[in-house]
Amino acid sequence: MDAILLQILNGLDKGSAYALIALGLTLIFGTLGVVNFAHGALFMIGAFCAVTLQKIFSLSYEVIDETQTDFLGNPLKVKTPYVESWFGPELGAVIIDWSVPLAILFAIPIMLGVGYAMERGLIKHFYKRPHADQILVTFGLAIVLQEIVKYFFGANPIQTPPPAALSGSVDLGVALGFDPNAIIYPIWRLVYFLFAVVIIGGVFSFLQFTTFGMVVRAGMADRETVGLLGINIDRRFTIMFGIAAAVAGLAGVMYGPLNPPNYHMGMDFLVLSFVVVVVGGMGSLPGAVLAGFLLGILESFASTTWATTTIPGINQIIIYLVAIIVLLTRPRGLMGRKGVMEE
């Protein structure tokens, strides 16, 4: 029982990541109809917003300390972050410590800007082009973004720890009446899950309770006619794209503390996020979220010893296997809308 609960919890946080990435992707891919291979790169850029902010906060001046030596035996340069000298060591340390959550504020305008620039500068010209062209151009863009990040930050992962107060783990099992140590869970993963719920809720209500979603859907089906009805569909597409980029970026910011960001983390998630969106069904936001959580939980269960001994290698293929089964039994994924990218 506790083992099952534990795997569900694990699935939830993996699922949160899948759902968030897929949510951003489905806004662009399922709704705007652009096969965006740069989505992973947006996620990655989000994570690197956190890295950058952390680096900015840690910008330091150097004082040479003659009493210590570096690896070559030269006097050691001791670094003190400016933040600490400005705000005092304590507050400064707190600011550095909280750099990941603070990065959310930092990332929102950046990601909106990135989304805006990307849509206006590039994607705008590709709505009417074949999907294949969209793949080529966004893939090219993804490579470029990735290489730029690699140029500045290197290929190695960079730790972006959560604030001390939110690091470490809690024993949920005790609270639920299980043995101690039965269900240990990292705090940040709970935070991530809650964050995902908030973002998903926010995006849903924006699209569900306003006409925005309907207009964009209509615009995707027939831009010209929507234009003839006096609606500036371009602007709405841009906004939609900005939101999608922001969602992807925020997913990235918050993901940093779970696993240290590196320049190719976006590519690692790319294929998976497409699978999630399609399994959820093209054009369906709830579908993408549902599929994200579903695949996360199933993956979690498939990686239990019980599963891998019963079916060797099941953890390697579970996602794809489920995708195949879903797509063969439900023609448009879990909740897909008719006519979206079916031909």
């Binding site: 096969v35 590039l122 705008k124 010209h125 590709f126 009417k128 082009r129 074949p130 999907h131 294949a132 062209d133 793949i135 080529l136 151009v137 893939f139 090219g140 863009l141 993804a142 490579i143 470029v144 990735q146 290489e147 730029i148 140029y151 294929v271 497409f274 699978v275 399609v278 399994v279 093209m282 060797p312 290698g313 390697q316 293929i317 996602i319 794809y320 296997l321 995708a323 195949i324 797509l327 063969l328 023609p331 448009r332 994924g333 990218m341 079916e342 031909e343």
Partner: protein
């Protein structure tokens, strides 16, 4: 000639000349000049051009004609390679049975995967093929290489070991893939002054095979079957109400392109007897998609150009390092030289991906029809015409607004 019209015959002849003379064409720079870095006329890369050309031609039969975008074709390439190496292990290093088997096995797999995946269309089809290929990759990479049942030899890659049966292997035959004794590695090098040209047996085998399959592709494009495939892309509904069952058409195209992929995989193993699982990964499937689009989807020669383009970057640009750059710009004053090298540095060597990414974007933005359109524009421009549409449907190939 050969049942082709004039235009196609001349295309075929041009392709034949280009492939047969590739050792000259690809090595335009003297062997020890600074520009020799850009020479691509060495056996391995020439083989790769042609093999990936075959892969892309086949892919284009499916994608270019029917519009079904498979994201898992690398699986068939990988399966072809594994089959070929198994033939080497069991029978002998002769490439004929190996290549034959790789085509057959890839055909069977594509029949199976195609039959299932083609129940869906559009993006749903793409993801199904992707899922099958990723599963094959995962299985090959780890599950099927466990010590008890080692079919693929996992990460290391399937290769021939001295204790393999090789029942038809005889003394005197090369210990490497060969065609009835002619080793695929044997190369004749022709030195003309400062130039040096390699004529490699393996390359010419691949080249001949490519010419044959290119010819077949032309025939398919020009056949009633080809029109039916384009009809599938255009309007399946109309097709069904015209008394045509679109499913067998798409399946046939899928299997044909799967067999092309298997052939490419078999040739790859024949040139270099090792089959690794990475060639089945999604990135490999993605690569052939990129090759096709980059070259020009639905055109005959485009995929080959796209394949050459990407492989050229992967193999030539990645090898330009700073010391090569310094070598080129040594004539500049020191400060200038360092500056130029510093500017170029991010784009070459380990930065080759960056250059490739930028070129992808430039091509697709400015040449919506791929490299082929670039070629057409060039020809038109040379002929002094105005650039742009020639015989293309309007609206479809309009440059981005």
């Amino acid at each position: 000639m050969l049942g082709l019209n004039k235009k196609d015959t001349s295309l075929l002849i041009i392709v034949a000349l280009l492939t047969l003379l590739a050792p000259f064409i690809l090595n335009p720079f003297p062997a020890d000049s600074a520009m020799a870095q850009f020479n691509a006329g060495y056996p391995d890369l020439m083989q790769r051009f042609v093999i990936f050309g075959i892969f892309a031609i086949g892919f284009n039969i499916l994608f270019g004609l029917t519009g079904y975008l498979s994201f898992g074709h690398a699986a068939f390439l990988g399966i072809g390679s594994y089959s070929a190496v198994w033939m080497f292990k069991l029978l002998s290093y002769n490439v004929i049975p190996a290549i034959a088997l790789s085509i057959v096995i890839a055909g069977l797999f594509s029949l199976l995967i195609g039959y299932v995946s083609l129940r869906r269309s559009g993006i749903y089809f793409s993801i199904l093929t992707l899922a099958f290929a990723q599963m094959s990759f995962a299985l090959a990479y780890s599950v099927l290489s466990n010590p008890k049942f080692n079919l693929t030899n996992g990460e290391t890659g399937l290769q021939v070991y001295a204790d393999d049966p090789q029942i038809f292997h005889r003394e005197g035959l090369p210990d490497l893939p060969h065609l009835f004794g002619l080793s695929m590695r044997s190369t004749y090098t022709l030195d003309v002054g400062a130039w040096s040209f390699d004529f490699n047996a393996g390359y010419y085998l691949c080249a001949v095979v490519m010419m044959i399959v290119f010819y077949l592709a032309i025939r398919i494009f020009r056949s009633p079957f080809g029109i039916m495939l384009r009809a599938v892309k255009s309007n399946q509904q109309r097709m069904n109400y015209t008394g045509l069952n679109s499913r067998p058409y798409t399946l046939a195209a899928f299997v044909i392109s799967g067999m092309y992929a298997g052939l490419a995989g078999g040739l790859m193993a024949a040139m270099d007897p090792l089959a690794g699982a990475e060639r089945m990964q999604w990135t490999a499937s993605g690569e052939v998609v990129l090759m096709t689009i980059l070259g020009g989807t639905g055109t005959l020669i485009g995929p080959v150009l796209g394949a050459g383009f990407i492989k050229y970057f992967e193999n030539i640009f990645s090898k330009i390092n700073d010391s090569v750059l310094h070598g080129w710009f040594a004539f500049l004053p020191d400060g200038m030289e360092d500056f130029v090298v510093a500017v170029l540095h991010p784009f070459v060597g380990k930065g080759w991906h960056l250059t490739l990414g930028i070129l992808f974007m430039l091509v697709v933005i400015f040449l919506p029809g791929g490299l082929v359109e670039g070629g057409q524009r060039l020809i038109n421009w040379i002929r002094g015409k105005r650039s742009g549409e020639t015989d293309k449907p309007s609206g479809k190939t309009e440059p981005a607004e």
